[in-house]
Amino acid sequence: GSAGKNASTGGASGGVASRTAAAAQDMSDTEKVVNWSNWTEYIDTSEDGKSRPTLDAFQKQTGIKVNYTEDYLDNDEFYAKVRPLLEGGKDTGRDVWCSTDWMVSRLIRQGYVQKLDLANIPNAKNLDDSLKNVEFDPGRQYSLPWQSGFAGIGYNLKATGGKKIESITQLLTDPALKGKVTLLTEMRDTVGLVMMEQGKDISKFTDADFQAAIDMLQQAKDSGQILRFTGNEYTEGLAKGDIAACVAWTGDVVQLQFDNKDIQYALPEKGFTLWSDNFVIPALAKHKKNAEKLIDYYYDPAVMAQVAAWVNYIAPVKGTEEELVKIDPELGKNPLIVPTDEVLARAQVFRGLSTAEETKYNKLFSALTTA
């Protein structure tokens, strides 16, 4: 499989790590555990939702127990949570997590993540070529992608009264949705979608473009259209129907469909964002080697295919498509997992931001989301 576009040109200022992350005494050999923090709805689960087949298999195979915690709801929040520890030179209690490109860039810059020991990850060679060389981590020294995907629109037919929600404008203005719309706290997705709706190219937008998008959002918010800005926790509300429609990561929505046929997604005509989330190993991780073994495990196309079949995101591992078809030929036709050119043509990547820009835009956006 191929993501087609390079979804990972995120960090403009990326490249050289300004600081080096400290390594801890690796306990991997004595403690057969690895602590993995990840987003919700981001791994395969059994039908009853009570176990995670690929993780179970990993543990069986290696004897390493994975403490899998879905406490990564949002990049900023997660960063704020671990930063004091990383800054203070303390262990975060985690060995690996999956951060979005731009966040990886920041983590590398601040010396909060360690270099990967590729000797422990032979399968790293399976990394999709288009993702091998990214601006924020040249040569993939610090990070390896977990999944890529789109941010689009998710909605619940029951709550929209059977109405389809297909554009951002509709999302932000349709009175039928009043007070039942959520947007993401992830600035690049929310603002990106709006800018595209306004006909801008998010790979090269200006301050004015950004401000225009913020204005549109502010208007929607002031009109009472928007229920909340959320991280990954929108899924429960969407499933329940408290949220009629939202900006969502498409794979999440597809997963909800298994339990609830009213759940729908739409990729806006004017464009939608493409991103990827990447494994990183934080400073002072106690089980670095185990984490690398875990990454290696998932870089086996057969394993990755199982994940992709469930999560409905784009796998970064070569050969996944072939394995997918083996599981279910239909999956090969899923535009979310194996995007067609037509879909990819509409997808855009948010451009990298300088530190100053990031501060400026964050301030504008957070004034919107926190107040």
């Binding site: 919700t40 939702g49 403490n67 899998y68 915690t69 879905e70 406490d71 709801l73 949570k81 671990v82 004091p84 520890l85 203070g88 303390k90 262990d91 975060t92 209690g93 985690r94 991280g231 990954n232 926790e233 429960e236 499933a239 329940k240 339990d259 609830n260």
Partner: protein, 264 residues
Amino acid sequence: MSWIKRHLITFAAIAVLIYMLVPNVIVAVFSFNDPAGKYNYTFNEFSTEAWTNPCGAQGICESLGLSLQVGVIASLAATALGTMIAFALGRYRFRGRSATNLLIFMPMATPEVVMGSSLLTLFLMLGVPSGRTAILIAHIMFCVSFVVVAVKARVATLDPKLEEAAADLGANPTQTFLRVTLPLAAPGIAAGALLAFSLSFDDYIITNFNASPSSITFPMYVWGASARGVPVQVYVIGTIMFLLALIVVMTGQLISSRRNRQVA
């Protein structure tokens, strides 16, 4: 009609009580649910599974353990510190009394966000790591005032004649304190400790400012879980704690009232 009128207050009181307890009923009911998906919001099927395995959700019992541990230590420490202050305020006249009173009142008049964030600011500046110790420090701090108020109310009603009587009967100051003053203040101290424990056990806002990812208290666990689907076990533990509180306080009451009625 006049019967209703005469019992208006009773009806109103019962209605309010129901309002207060409805959420607990819901929690209890949903603790017996076997949810359809990972979200426990509609009653799907009766099940006692979560009751048989209350630690079944990852991390839940660790967080409960931490909360209980913090609650016990914080309430003990706050009770010790607060009781001493209460005795000083309730028994002595000294310079700086009103300043002390103000200092005791201020934490109660400070919103939790302010307290939590200011402490975080201090810790950030001093480089004190967040985590268990920081949580404990914070909890002791905000519990002290409540203990002071509870104990002082009791100490203020203590008859100083009783201490004089003890001295008159040959008890030296230490004996007087241990045998008379302390036992008499005990109900107030117990009330203060219980209040401190429940405040500590229930606190989210201040805790969240000072917790680290490796020190998740039970309320923080619940908060986190609320974002990714609350496991049924949370409802089980909520119900258990509710019942536990009922039982503990009721038996405490029973024992003391029986002791009072003894040989009546």
